[in-house]
Each structure stands twice: as structure tokens, then as C-alpha cells.
């Protein structure tokens, strides 16, 4: 197999780097994480002329080689470590034709590392409209590189990049700026102390604020021949370096980059004024959100119903067609519903990411982030936390995945930890049935109590999420400084290819990531509910039939009672009985205990489990509601579902971490069991205490 050319795509955020990556690799790409951290790693293969292939690595967006976040760390670590397996043969620095001045800072730094670098100036299709003209020949000479003028939107210039990659050995590697002039003596001493090392590499390692994952600072040993400077002196030198680079860039662009100012003003400024307005900005944003969530629910409903029906008939078909036996039962009652439980979420996830992707691609998301940042920052969150928090009202799983664009690790972690407090759609079946049972169907000033209770539960979720974010912000320490920097990219029509790839990638990630876990849990839950250790389970039919001998009881009622008796004596029933003493102070009996245990896999399982336990053939809420309303608390002798136990249950479900899939996603996103376990213990512990207080006060 011939050796592939290793290419790193580097650039500032919002320069269209991912679009260029998509153009270069097409569908030959895969997404993973960098080892040890949760920064997304995108790589792919690009076919070059003459049958040669290039391995393309799409590095996280970075403004400079002075790292301030984990994402930027990844870029620096890779570029400083020649023994890294992904160390590039050639770097393609993507820049935006409208923001060339800022983008070139990174380019000049990469040149200093003496890595062959190609400058790809993207969004060239906007040059005419914006009155921009470039003297490519002069820029190539001044920047000491080769330039490709690209429009990833129109697909132009991609072939030029490919040709330049192919000829990367001919690219000059000399720096275009001599940054050491800022303190000649210091840099001379530094080079003399470590003659075998690249000077700029030494400087970067000395001045970085952050800790490296893979690069060992000890490879640069201490020496008495070199005295380094204090932190503040180094900071001052860094500032001087940036000024020196910008002086060079300004001088270069003055000659090679012209803008007709008359063409630059237009729709963008007017749109920005409205979309980031302190009143209208929020009104428009919430109107868009309302529209998105209404659409998600409305559009998802049809495919979800279809998937539900499809899996139900498939399950029935499997039971009727396959030879009777326990494995057939596992397939029809465990595996097929288990897979259905994964697939049914696909429409919601796909639609949610379709809209998020459209908002991001159009440039509107940056305005939202700017708008919300100030308010959210008070609670230790970032403007970018808004989207995951709101997505959490549909489902916490895609919401946690949506935190990936929050650069600051602490803010991202806090968002991940508090998002499950938001009222997700899986809580709705539980809320609806309990509210219908315990809250009177009466009105106050035209407002229905039951509707008000539902709204209150949504508000409780949001307030708890923001409140716990505030506490976590105060408790958690971070070594990474947080500051707000958001770029306002131009508004543009979203590229369908990018949107489609994002939706595909996120959906795949859910199905093959969390899906496997949900499936495994479904098998275990089915087994625990379908087997029992004692004779009571095995002889349930004889015992129940004997009990009703001589009584006038229909076969259907007899069968449901047998099923109920079996469940009570199954492993999961025994677990329910075992936890009964712990949940009794909350006003629950063992049957609710079983529903609590089984709904640990997913909250919506609660209603289904209770339906089986209360021996109701169907899961229709009206039927189960009547049976639940008739249940008697064995301790008090009163109704089991009254205001006290009902409110207690509602609050328990509002706060408890009753979702295995969310835990699995949190584990994947944080790369550690520490955080999902903390989430499980703290959220469920808090839920228990609140539910206990509610029951004891209201009973």
C-alpha cells in the first residue's frame, strides 16, 4: 500500500474549514474523539491526481497557536510533536477572504514552525459582491507560500488545493515573519540553550497557559545556561509578538488586498441590528424556538407513530411465526421492542440536528450565542448552553451531544450536568397520568389546575437546571480561563451537503453509541421480568388457578392475574419488594418500586410497567388510570395515588436521573464514569429528599 500524504486542515472558526473538508473527502470520512479528551476528531481520505491519496485531518478551529481551550490544545500539540502519528506533511490553512487580516495571524505562526503550508482563501465567490480584489502573486511572495483561491460553496479551487498537496515538497518552509526581533537577546539565548530544537516551538511550549495531554514539557530540560522570564514578562512578549505579526500582515494586505468600501455595507448590518437587539433579539429567538419545537413534535409524530406501529406488528409477526419458546419471547418482547425503543428516537434527533445545523450554517446561531451569553454567564453557563438546554425539553441525549460546540470545558461540563433537569418528552407520559390522578380537573380564573401543574413542572426543571449550574460554577475549579469570543460570520444560505452530513453523523452516533446500551439493558430487563427464583414464579398458573377454583372469573381476567402474580415473584418483582422499605416514606408501594427500577432504563417505561403490574391488558391511560385510582396503600389504608404521593412522584421524576441512555451519553461525552455517577447520585439523592419532604408535608 502506498504511503498517504498527511494533511492537516487548520483555520479560524467559521472560515468554512469543514466545507472544504467535506469537498475534499466526500463521504470518505469518519468522526471520533482525540485520545483522552472529548474534542471531536474528523478525518478522511482524499483522492489526488496520479492515484495518490491524502489523509485529511480536520483540526478544531483555532484563532492562534496560543491555546485557550482544549480544542486549541489539540492543534498545538499535534503541530509541536513531530513524532505524533498525525503530524502533517503539509498544512492547509483555511482563511475567509473577508477576514484575511485576522486569519493570517495563525498562518504566520504555522509558517514559523517550518511546516509546509498552503494558504487556502475560502469564500472567493463573495469577492465580487464585497468589492474585494487580491494580488495573489504578491501575496504568495510576501507570505512565502502557495495560495489556492477557493469557494467551498461552489466547489471551485478544490482541485488547486489537491495539486498543491501533491506538490507539497516544493513548498517553501521559511517563516514569513521574524518574530524574534521582539527580544533578540532572549531568543538568541533560548536557541543557544537548546540548539537542536525549533526556536518557535520552544517559545510556544514556554508560553502556553494550558496543560498538554500528549506533549511532555520535560522534553525541554532545565538548564543553567538559559534563564526564562516571569509569567508577566512572557505575557508582554506574547503581546509584542502579536503586534509584530499584525504589523507584517497589515503591510502585506495594504499592497495585496483591496476592498471597495461602497460595496461592503448592506443587509448584514441591518439584520444584526434586529437579531441582536436587547428586546427584539429575544422575541425573535424565542419565536424561532417555538416554531422549531412545534415543528419537531409535529413532524416527528408521523414517523414515530409509523415506527411504533411497524415494530409492534413486527413483534407480533415474530411471535406468531417463530417456534414457540423463551428465545422467541425474548425476540418479540425484549429485542424487537428494545430496537424499536432506539429507532423511535431517530426522527426527533434527526429533526433537531437538522434545525440546529440550519441555524449554525446560516450564521444565525452566532447571534443567539452573543445575545444570550451575558445572562447565562451569571450562572456559570455560556451563551452556547442555550441550545442544549432547550434541546433538553425534547430529549437529553441529543442535547448533551449538542454541547460539543462549547469550547470552554467547565461551561460544557456544567451544561452536560444540568441539562437532564430540563423536562424531556419521556417525562410527559409519567406527568400526564399522575397529574390526571391527583390534581383536580378544576379551573381558577379560567386556568386549568392540571395545565398549571404541568407548566410548573417545566418551570421547576428549568429553574433547577440554572440554579444547579450556579452552584457547580461556584464549586468547580478550573485552570482554563473563560472569556467570551464569538465571531459574527456572514449570513448565508446553508449548504445542504453540510447539513445532511451533520444530521447523518449525529443520528449514526446515537444509534450506534447509545443504541447498543439500550438494547443490552432491554435484554436484561426482559430477563429479570420473565424469570423468578422460586416455585411461586414457576407455578404461578397453578397457584392462581387454584385460588380462583369454583369462582366465576373470565379467562382474560385469570390470565392477567397470572401475569401479575408472575411479575410479583420475578427477579424484578423481588427487587421491587426489596426496595419497598426505602420508598415507603415517599408514599410508594413495591409496585411503584418496580416501575421506578424498570424506568431507570427510560422514564416512559414507568407507565407501561404499572400497566402490566396492575394487570391491565392494554396500556391505555384511561384504563390504567382507573386501576391506579382504585389502588389502596397497604400502610395507610387510603388511596395509594393521592395528592401527597402524586406530588412526591412528580417531583421524584422531575429531579431523578432516571435515564440510562443519558448516563451513557454523558459517559461518552466526558470520557469518564465520574461525571455520570455524580449526576446519578446527586440528582437521584436530591429527588429522593424533595419527594420525601413533599409526601411528609402533604400527607
Amino acid at each position: 500500500m502506498s504511503k498517504q500524504i498527511k494533511v492537516a486542515l487548520i483555520g479560524n472558526p467559521n472560515t468554512g474549514k469543514t466545507s472544504v473538508f467535506n469537498q475534499l473527502t466526500g463521504l470518505n470520512q469518519k468522526v471520533g474523539n482525540y485520545p483522552g479528551i472529548t474534542v471531536e476528531k474528523k478525518e478522511g481520505v482524499c483522492k489526488l491526481p496520479r492515484g495518490i491519496k491524502a489523509h485529511i485531518l480536520d483540526l478544531p478551529g483555532t484563532y492562534s497557536l496560543n491555546a485557550t481551550s482544549l480544542d486549541e490544545n489539540v492543534v498545538i500539540e499535534l503541530l509541536l510533536n513531530k513524532s505524533h502519528k498525525d503530524f502533517p506533511d503539509v498544512a492547509v490553512v483555511i482563511s475567509d477572504v473577508e477576514n484575511l487580516k485576522r486569519n493570517l495571524l495563525l498562518f504566520t505562526q504555522i509558517k514559523d514552525l517550518k511546516i509546509p503550508a498552503i494558504l487556502a482563501i475560502n469564500m472567493a465567490d463573495r469577492m465580487d459582491r464585497k468589492g474585494i480584489s487580491l494580488d495573489i502573486e504578491l501575496l504568495e511572495k510576501k507570505l512565502n507560500t502557495k495560495i489556492a483561491l477557493v469557494s467551498s460553496r461552489k466547489g471551485t479551487g478544490i482541485d488547486t488545493i489537491k495539486e498543491l498537496i501533491l506538490e507539497y515538497r516544493k513548498l517553501p518552509t521559511e517563516p514569513c515573519v521574524n518574530a524574534s526581533v521582539i527580544d533578540k537577546d532572549y531568543f538568541e539565548n533560548l536557541q543557544n540553550a537548546f540548539p537542536d530544537q525549533e526556536l518557535y516551538k520552544l517559545w510556544l511550549v514556554i508560553t502556553q497557559d494550558v496543560n498538554f495531554v500528549q506533549l511532555n514539557r520535560h522534553t525541554i530540560p532545565d538548564t543553567s545556561s538559559f534563564n526564562t522570564k516571569s509569567r508577566s514578562e512572557l505575557k508582554r512578549l506574547q503581546q509584542k509578538e502579536a503586534i509584530c505579526r499584525y504589523q507584517f500582515i497589515n503591510g502585506t494586505l495594504k499592497e495585496g488586498y483591496k476592498v471597495d468600501a461602497g460595496a461592503a455595507k448592506g443587509l448584514r448590518a441591518s439584520l444584526d441590528r434586529v437579531l441582536t437587539h436587547k428586546v427584539w433579539g429575544y422575541v425573535i429567538f424565542f419565536a424561532i424556538l417555538l416554531l422549531i419545537f412545534q415543528t419537531i413534535f409535529n413532524w416527528s409524530q408521523y414517523p414515530m407513530d409509523y415506527i411504533d406501529e411497524l415494530f409492534a406488528s413486527f413483534s407480533e409477526w415474530a411471535k406468531a411465526t417463530l417456534p414457540a419458546g423463551v428465545f422467541t419471547n425474548l425476540i418479540s418482547e425484549g429485542l424487537i421492542p428494545g430496537i424499536g425503543g432506539i429507532v423511535i428516537f431517530i426522527p426527533q434527533i434527526a429533526f433537531l440536528f437538522l434545525f440546529i445545523s440550519l441555524l449554525e450554517e446560516s450564521g444565525y446561531m452566532s447571534r443567539v450565542v452573543f445575545l444570550m451569553d451575558k445572562g447565562m454567564r451569571r450562572f456559570g453557563l455560556s451563551g452556547k448552553s442555550v441550545v442544549p438546554l432547550i434541546s433538553g425539553t425534547a430529549c437529553a441525549i441529543p442535547a448533551v451531544m449538542a454541547t460539543r460546540n462549547i469550547e470552554n470545558w467547565k461551561e460544557r461540563l456544567i451544561t452536560i450536568l444540568v441539562t437532564p433537569f430540563m423536562t424531556c418528552s419521556a417525562r410527559l407520559p409519567v406527568y400526564l397520568i399522575i397529574i390526571a390522578l391527583v390534581i383536580p380537573d378544576k379551573r381558577f380564573m379560567g386556568l386549568n389546575y392540571q395545565g398549571l401543574m404541568l407548566m410548573a413542572l417545566y418551570l421547576i426543571g428549568f429553574i433547577t437546571a440554572v440554579g444547579s449550574a450556579y452552584l457547580l460554577h461556584k464549586v468547580m475549579k478550573t485552570r482554563t480561563k473563560s472569556f467570551f469570543m464569538v465571531e459574527m460570520p456572514n449570513y448565508k444560505v446553508p449548504l445542504l451537503k453540510n447539513v445532511a452530513l451533520t444530521v447523518l453523523e449525529k443520528t449514526k452516533s446515537f444509534v450506534f453509541g447509545a443504541g447498543k446500551i439500550i438494547l443490552a439493558i432491554s435484554i436484561i430487563l426482559w430477563f429479570l421480568a420473565s424469570n423468578g427464583p422460586s416455585d411461586k414464579y414457576a407455578n404461578a398458573e397453578e397457584i392462581v388457578t387454584e385460588k380462583h377454583r369454583g369462582q366465576d372469573i373470565s379467562e382474560e381476567d385469570l390470565n392477567t392475574e397470572i401475569a401479575s402474580y408472575q411479575l410479583e415473584n420475578s427477579y424484578i418483582g423481588i427487587i421491587g419488594k426489596a426496595i419497598e422499605p426505602a420508598i415507603q416514606p415517599l408514599g410508594y408501594d413495591w409496585k411503584i418500586g418496580i416501575a421506578l427500577v424498570s424506568s431507570f432504563a427510560a422514564r416512559e417505561v414507568f407507565v407501561g410497567t404499572l400497566a402490566t403490574i396492575y394487570s391491565v391488558g392494554s396500556e391505555e391511560e384511561s384504563t390504567i388510570k382507573n386501576r391506579m385510582a382504585a389502588e389502596i396503600n397497604p400502610v395507610t389504608g387510603g388511596k395509594l395515588f393521592n395528592l401527597a404521593s402524586g406530588v412526591s412522584l412528580l417531583l421524584f421524576y422531575a429531579f431523578a436521573m432516571q435515564c440510562m441512555s443519558t448516563l451513557a451519553i454523558v459517559k461518552r461525552e466526558t470520557n469518564s464514569w465520574k461525571w455520570p455517577m455524580a449526576q446519578l447520585i446527586l440528582m437521584s439523592g436530591f429527588a429522593y429528599i424533595v419527594a420525601l419532604i413533599a409526601y411528609q408535608v402533604l400527607k
Binding site: 496543560n211 419458546g325 428465545f327 425474548l330 446500551i517 435484554i523 436484561i524
Partner: protein, 43 residues
């Protein structure tokens, strides 16, 4: 002697439990260059 369906059920159960144990409880292999026990900033 258990029938084939029972064997298949236990096999599926073993795979499910094994998968969860492997995924959640067994430590992942780390390369030499991965995080040390110091606070390296990676999470």
C-alpha cells in the same frame, strides 16, 4: 437438558451483561502518551 431456545436466551443475556461490563467497568487501554495521574487538563 435445556432446549436450544433457553440456551440462546442465556447466550443473549451473557452477551448483554458482558457488553455492559466491558463498556462501563473494565478500564480502557491507555497509550503511553495518554494522561498521567496528574491534572493534565484532559477529561
Amino acid at each position: 437438558m435445556p432446549d436450544i431456545q433457553t440456551i440462546l436466551v442465556y447466550a443473549a443475556l451473557a452477551i448483554a451483561v458482558g457488553f455492559l461490563v466491558k463498556k462501563f467497568f473494565l478500564p480502557k487501554k491507555k497509550t503511553k502518551k495518554a494522561c498521567s495521574n496528574q491534572d493534565c487538563g484532559c477529561h
